[in-house]
């Protein structure tokens, strides 16, 4: 149980907030707004799952926000040009995977620090997009929104996709050799090399996967609105990293669970509606998010310190 202390802690806090809401503001639990809230957060969850893999593998990617924008705009333009929605979605995934592969090649191939590489690709992508689009919105054809289904059906579909990604990746991470290799490489890349694993390939693969998932998330976001605004996704990287860290994934690699990430993301997502329902001014949202991140890292630090003494 001690292994999952962080995940359990976050989940407990989340449940406490949800319970408070149930008592004080049952209106929070109305189906339609709740479903909308979850559907809005679903793309973030998909990116967060990918980010968790990257961070468990002891890397980081701060270019996902820019990737998200590029994939959104590209898929939007293709859809507007008359491509079938399914192809546009596939294109978003492919473009995301391509950028993930570029990050992965620079980090794994050249051995560059991931934070700087992805800082550079983040700036490059963002500004390249601005240059190409000049801030123009893309108006989407009607059949794109909710994939031509009803809003309820569309939202449900999105939630199912996000759920499938979460469960699938969580399973792979836990039960496939490939998943365990990510933990191994993140825990100690040199030991992994000595054990005959291929740390560079693992690093490349997690970046590739994160890119593809970011593309998928962009598509999931795209079908929720009638147009694409090019700034969509800015700031996504920090929100996603925050969710992953709050969810108990160690920034030093090798540790973490996807269900913790889910709890972390929901905790961040629930703050704003909770504030509204509890009649606290909504301007506090970001400050509270920051405080939660700090709290998470401080408790982890103190726990580690106490644990270290016990073991030594």
């Amino acid at each position: 149980m001690r292994r999952h202390a962080r995940e359990l802690g976050v989940t407990a806090v989340l449940l406490a907030i949800l319970a408070t809401l149930a008592l004080v503001a049952p209106a929070f639990y109305q189906t339609a707004p709740l479903r909308s809230l979850l559907a809005r957060e679903a793309p973030t969850l998909v990116v967060a799952c990918g980010m968790a893999l990257v961070i468990i593998g002891r890397q980081i990617d701060i270019s996902v926000g820019s990737q998200f924008s590029v994939c959104s705009v590209a898929a939007g333009l293709l859809a507007a040009a008359g491509w079938p929605t399914a192809l546009a979605v596939a294109a978003a995934v492919a473009i995301g995977a391509l950028w993930g592969a570029i990050n992965g090649a620079l980090v794994a191939g050249l051995g560059l620090p991931s934070i700087v590489v992805t800082l550079a690709t983040m700036v490059t992508l963002r500004q390249g997009l601005n240059l190409a689009r000049q801030g123009e919105f893309v108006n989407l054809p009607d059949q794109v929104q909710w994939l031509g289904l009803s809003q309820t059906a569309g939202q449900t579909l999105i939630l199912l996709v996000a759920g499938a990604v979460l469960v699938g990746l969580a399973w792979a991470l836990r039960s496939l050799a490939a998943g365990r290799h990510i933990y191994a490489v993140g825990s100690d890349a040199e030991a992994a090399r000595l054990a005959g694993l291929r740390p560079r390939r693992v690093t490349f693969a997690v970046f590739l996967l994160l890119g593809a998932l970011t593309g998928l998330a962009a598509a999931m976001n795209l079908i929720q609105s009638p147009q694409v605004q090019p700034l969509v996704g800015s700031g996504l990287e920090l929100k996603v990293i925050a969710a992953v860290v709050i969810g108990g994934v160690a920034i030093s690699g090798g540790r973490g669970q996807l269900w913790g990430v889910l709890a972390g993301l929901l905790l961040l997502a629930v703050i704003s509606p909770a504030l509204t329902h509890l009649r606290i001014e909504a301007y506090w949202e970001k400050a509270i998010q920051g405080a939660i991140i700090l709290l998470a890292v401080v408790t982890e630090g103190l726990r580690r310190r106490a644990g270290g003494k016990g073991a030594g």
Partner: protein, 337 residues
């Protein structure tokens, strides 16, 4: 003859020299393509002194943040919160002056204290509790921006600052844009700190060998704390300059600046792993980005496209990648050789 060649190759391997070359090429190109004579026969564009001052004026805030980040990154740390702290300090300054009715000077002084306090939060967590700076400052990145939003309820904008204060951001003093003096003084001070004091030496040692620093009896915690508190204080100074230049203080001031500042530092040759780097390098990095951005805005073709900012950003990112890749290949060559 051979010694001259060796010297040249040694110099070329120095990041600062390469960057200076890039800067000169940039400047030459813009001078050539970006300077035109308008219909009334007046020289306009990049080649004019006014434009050069503009470059300087607009690079001061990110430049200050880049200066502030140089010691932090030298210790192998990072501070993502400086942009948010800039926003918070701008709001604090607005409130102290407008709501609390303090004189501008006192409000500015207290704002610097507030910045130092913000830095002290980072310092306490990073230096005191030994938590990873990336995550700590990700947290304060949200916290500081969130506090700025909460203080202004997301809506209040402070304006109508007295002319004496706006002088700092919009006028010239002794021939230079006023804020350039602040920037130059900060650059000189941080340059001296990093390159001429034992504290600066300690920054480097911490970056190269954190354990080695402890074994050498250095004051590890205090050194780290100095870096982060300094970063906070300088971010507050940047907030004052920003407010004076724009003429208003609001919660979203400086959004995204941290990433541009980090870009400038890394482009300037400071290693993200710590230890290696210099303040002149950072200044060159800031200049390369600023000249690129402003220079592109003077080229007629770019003006027609209205795309100077974006092209500059794109080229900055590409330049950074190139610098990284070259650095990695150079490093590999060194290990082999």
């Amino acid at each position: 003859m051979r010694r001259a060649g060796e010297f040249l190759r040694g110099a070329l391997r120095r990041h600062e020299v390469l960057l200076l070359l890039v800067l000169v090429v940039e400047w030459g190109l813009f001078y050539h393509y970006g300077t035109t004579v308008n219909r009334r026969g007046v020289v306009v564009g990049f080649g004019t002194l006014d434009r050069q001052f503009d470059v300087l004026r607009h690079s001061c805030e990110i430049g200050l943040l880049a200066l502030a980040l140089t010691p932090v990154i030298l210790t192998a740390g990072i501070d993502l919160s400086v942009g948010s702290l800039l926003g918070l300090c701008a709001v604090v300054f607005g409130q102290l002056w407008h709501d609390a009715g303090l004189p501008v000077g006192a409000a500015a002084g207290l704002t610097l204290v507030a910045g130092a306090l913000g830095g002290a939060v980072n310092a306490g967590l990073v230096a005191g509790l030994r938590l990873p700076p990336l995550i700590v400052t990700l947290g304060t990145y949200s916290l500081f921006r969130g506090l700025a939003e909460a203080l202004t309820r997301g809506a209040v904008t402070y304006t109508d600052f007295p002319a004496g204060f706006l002088f700092l951001g919009q006028e010239r003093w002794l021939g230079l844009p006023t804020q350039a003096w602040v920037f130059l003084v900060a650059a000189a001070a941080i340059g001296v700190l990093v390159h001429r004091t034992v504290t600066g030496r300690a920054f480097r040692v911490l970056g190269f060998a954190p354990e080695g620093a402890r074994y050498a009896g250095l004051a590890v915690g205090r050194t780290l704390a100095i870096a982060y508190v300094l970063a906070g204080t300088v971010a507050a100074a940047a907030a004052l300059i920003y407010t004076a230049r724009i003429g208003q203080a609001k919660a979203d001031a400086g959004t995204g600046y941290e990433l541009y500042a980090i870009t400038a530092v890394v482009l300037g040759g400071t290693s993200i792993f710590g230890g290696r780097g210099s303040v002149p390098g950072t200044l060159l990095g800031v200049a390369a980005i600023a000249v690129l951005k402003n220079g592109l805005a003077t080229i007629p073709a770019v003006i027609r496209l209205n795309a100077a900012e974006e092209m500059a950003g794109l080229l900055t990112g590409a330049l950074l990648l190139l610098a990284l890749a070259l650095g990695a290949l150079g490093q590999a060559g060194k290990v082999e050789g």
